[in-house]
Symmetry: C2
Subunit: 224 residues, 2 copies
DNA sequence: CAATGTGAAGACCTTCACAGCC
DNA sequence: GGCTGTGAAGGTCTTCACATTG
């Protein structure tokens, strides 16, 4: 009789944030209130309470939440009770940085495979792992029980890499390349496009600069 | 009489995606329909039309959109008619990769300054630029007319770096460090947390793996 | 009394479906 | 005829405000 829990997508995307904040807050003693957690995570207290309520009633009215217990519950919900082995395809600038990123190890992941199509890179050791040929992708996935694939190749290669990952059995892909990728519906893809983040910032920068301009000239001409 | 155009946030965050897709589609001749653009960008046609309608009526009924013209309009809306000079603080693994990322140059940005608090790195040339001391941040911002700051330092340094950026006059910050940053309300901060993206994927991976499990055993026991 | 947990209200976003126009 | 542009409907997410409870 598994309880059907439709945790909203928006909530899921904030759980990791709460987790990160709780790990910091857990240093200090005593229970953590939704206000304190909200402050640490940079969201509103109401959001914290509603989000956490989807996981169950893990707080104590009048006191707050026990940090250690909540951490455990969120980890369980996110599936972070185990360390997930990940594979990185494309060991260029970004792939290198990702392979060496300490944060993954501390937060539930282990870089367990590296592949690259460039033969001259094969064999090179990065972050303690040898780069293997692109054609070994399926073998690495099987041998290392890889669960999540990370694409850090040039945009042109994305679709082929994704196809191979799906073929090898991966059902979760994180795509850093600036291109849309098409996969069967049972596969989850998330994307991070660094230039797009900057472009969004540029929009607000431009918009606010224009506002500052207007306010500036208003002030100069003495109007309120 | 400047027309007040409240382009929704969700739309703003998709404009860069349309821009990227249009640049690809512009190779081929003829107008681009909302269906074609939707396909290329990985969204629904209705969304494309509604999003574009906030910018104005730039399409032609019965035909579609002129790619070149739309590209121009979206660039204008996003403020990408100029190349924005950006500064990267923290030239470790990730900072290096960002400094060398070709995509920025192609999509409206120019890495114009690098700073790092580690004295032993100062002077080193990365992507054709010398790393300068953290204390020169304000000077670099002024001299290079930096508009956007990128934080790629360890989490512990984030708040100090952000404070310095704000003090130096920056109003747009992209934060890659896994920590919340507090800034005055006139400053826009966007964040990218690589581990969080993986944690969100882990949630769906776990959830879907459980579903596959159930389906598998159902099939095995002969139920529909 | 203090802080959670939650219905209800409201804001925002997406999808529908079709009138309007080329 | 074909495709845009858009009101209206339908969802989802956020915020409010307060009853509930340790």
């Amino acid at each position: 009789m598994t309880r059907e829990r439709p945790v909203p997508e928006a909530t899921v995307s904030r759980l990791p944030l709460y987790l990160r904040s709780l790990v910091e807050l857990a240093e200090t003693e005593g229970p953590v209130s939704s206000d304190a957690l909200a402050e640490a995570a940079g969201v509103t207290p109401a959001k914290v309470r509603k989000d956490l309520s989807y996981l169950g009633s893990y707080g104590t009215r009048g006191r707050g939440y026990d940090a250690a217990y909540l951490i455990h519950q969120i980890r369980r919900e996110l599936g972070l009770t185990q360390h997930w082995p990940i594979l990185i395809a494309g060991i260029g600038n970004l792939g290198h940085a990702l392979a060496n990123y300490r944060g993954f190890g501390e937060r539930g992941f282990r870089v367990a495979g590296l592949v690259d199509a460039d033969g001259s890179k094969v064999g090179e050791i990065v972050a303690g792992l040898p780069i293997r040929p692109f054609d070994d992708l399926a073998t690495v996935v099987r041998d290392e029980r890889i669960a999540i694939g990370v694409i850090a190749t040039p945009a042109t290669a994305v679709q082929e890499v994704a196809d191979r990952m799906v073929e090898a059995g991966l059902r979760s892909i994180l795509n850093f390349a600036p291109a849309v990728v098409t996969v069967p519906e049972e596969v989850t893809v998330r994307k991070v496009d660094l230039a797009i983040e900057l472009q969004i910032l540029a929009y607000y920068e431009q918009r606010n600069a224009a506002l500052r301009e207007v306010r500036g000239s208003r002030a100069a001409s003495g109007r309120s």
